[in-house]
């Protein structure tokens, strides 16, 4: 039931760094997540976009050395589509995703703590209803563990290059814009930000 101690300690260390990054990135905040979904505050896209580009370069550069291996999730159509729909609605209602929700609990946000109780309840429902959920979702078939590169028969570096180019264009076009809420806050200094 327990991993060896070194592995637990390593997980804790990795998590603390991740939590600090999420908190300093301001994504453990309701108004930043909702600001992204209302297409007003682009912090989430900036962070995720940069993380994906930087992460992809490192992982694919390390892959030939066999220091890392890929951990792909299969493209089970029923699972990805149903799960994505539920997740998107849940994230907009709660205002946090699982990782940022846990960081938000660390930040002392009470609504995130209630959200975490909801998350554990949701996980419990999934486990309890697993046989019927699994039976139902398997009907929709699976495309297996494929990547954008493998399914198109192209080099992963073509895709990573494309992502880098997309990121640079994004930064050049929008990168200089300050989050709009800064000016909104100045206009209404009495307003407490959530």
């Amino acid at each position: 039931m327990f991993d060896p101690f070194w592995k637990l300690a390593l997980g804790l260390f990795t998590g603390i760094l991740f939590g600090v990054l999420l908190q300093k990135g301001r994504v453990a905040k309701y108004q930043v997540i909702l600001g992204q979904f209302l297409l007003k505050d682009w912090t989430v896209v900036k962070i995720m976009g940069t993380a994906v580009v930087v992460g992809a370069i490192g992982i694919y550069a390390l892959l030939p050395t066999e220091a890392v291996s890929l951990h792909l999730k299969p493209l089970d159509w029923g699972r990805i589509v149903t799960g994505g729909l539920l997740f998107g609605v849940g994230m907009a209602v709660l205002g946090y995703c699982p990782g940022t929700g846990v960081a938000a609990c660390g930040e002392g946000r009470k609504d995130a703590m209630i959200g975490l109780v909801g998350m554990l309840t949701g996980a419990g429902l999934y486990v309890a209803a697993f046989p019927s959920i699994d039976n139902f979702l398997q009907r929709f078939g699976s495309a297996g563990k494929i990547t954008l590169a493998s399914v198109t028969g192209t080099s992963p570096w073509l895709w990573i290059g494309g992502l880098i180019a997309l990121g640079l264009v994004g930064i050049l076009m929008f990168g200089h814009e300050r989050p709009k809420q800064v000016s909104a806050k100045r206009k209404r200094p009495h307003q407490v930000t959530g």
């Binding site: 327990f2 592995k7 637990l8 300690a9 390593l10 997980g11 804790l12 990795t14 939590g19 600090v20 999420l22 908190q23 300093k24 108004q31 979904f37 209302l38 297409l39 007003k40 962070i47 940069t50 993380a51 580009v53 930087v54 992460g55 291996s69 951990h71 792909l72 999730k73 493209l75 089970d76 990805i80 589509v81 994505g84 539920l86 609605v89 849940g90 907009a92 209602v93 709660l94 995703c97 699982p98 990782g99 929700g101 846990v102 960081a103 660390g106 930040e107 002392g108 946000r109 009470k110 209630i114 998350m119 554990l120 309840t121 949701g122 996980a123 419990g124 486990v127 046989p131 990573i160």
Partner: protein, 202 residues
């Protein structure tokens, strides 16, 4: 010029030997309420190299929550283990990922304490403006949101971290589809809840 000279002089005579300029700069980094999103993004990207290299594991959150719930159910309803094929396929445990989630909590706590960023109201202003000041209303919605979130994450076998960052950076087709769907439904839900008017209250 004189003012500049005075400033230089002050900097050359730190009040205590540990408060060098580098120390003060480090302190400002720690006490800052936020870092550049690009810097944080690059940090998370490099952090995922570390997770792959050190633990051979992508950063992810919700498997640990699923295992926690499964262990609790196993303890409360032992018969579940025989009747539910979940326990044939999965062996829930307290492992690297469970500690990762605990670490995220501690990281959020430490980082927010360092910057004093801890005065968030239970009812966020955007919510307050649209649905009123009731804490109960907000908490009920947060609970339901949490349930939907984890049901979705476990059905899709990943969340914003597991699919949205760790999966997309491996170019997994499943993760790109999942991320596109969560952004589309998140945007649709947010505009349904708040309308265009809500944008003025973010």
């Amino acid at each position: 010029m004189r003012r500049l000279a005075r400033r230089v002089k002050v900097r050359r005579q730190p009040q205590n030997p540990f408060s060098t300029m580098e120390d003060r700069h480090m302190k400002r980094v720690v006490t800052a309420k936020s870092w550049s999103p690009y810097l944080v993004g690059a940090g998370i990207g490099m952090h995922s190299w570390f997770a792959f290299l050190s633990a051979d594991h992508p950063l992810g959150i919700t498997t640990a929550m699923e295992h926690t719930a499964a262990l609790a159910e196993q303890a409360v309803v032992p018969s579940l283990e025989e009747n539910n094929k979940y326990f044939e396929q999965e062996s829930p445990k307290i492992g690297w990922q469970w500690m990762l989630v605990l670490g995220v909590f501690i990281g959020g706590l430490v980082s927010s304490l360092a910057s004093g960023d801890r005065n968030a109201p239970a009812v966020p202003p955007l919510w307050h403006q649209r649905f009123g000041p009731s804490k109960t209303k907000r908490f009920v919605a947060a609970f339901i949101g949490g349930v939907l979130l984890l049901l979705g994450a476990r059905i899709a076998q990943g969340c914003t971290s597991g699919h949205g960052i760790s999966g997309t950076l491996q170019l997994a087709a499943s993760s790109w589809l999942f991320t596109a769907i969560i952004f589309a439904t998140g945007i649709a839900t947010a505009f349904t809840l708040y309308g265009r008017e809500g944008r003025n209250h973010v």
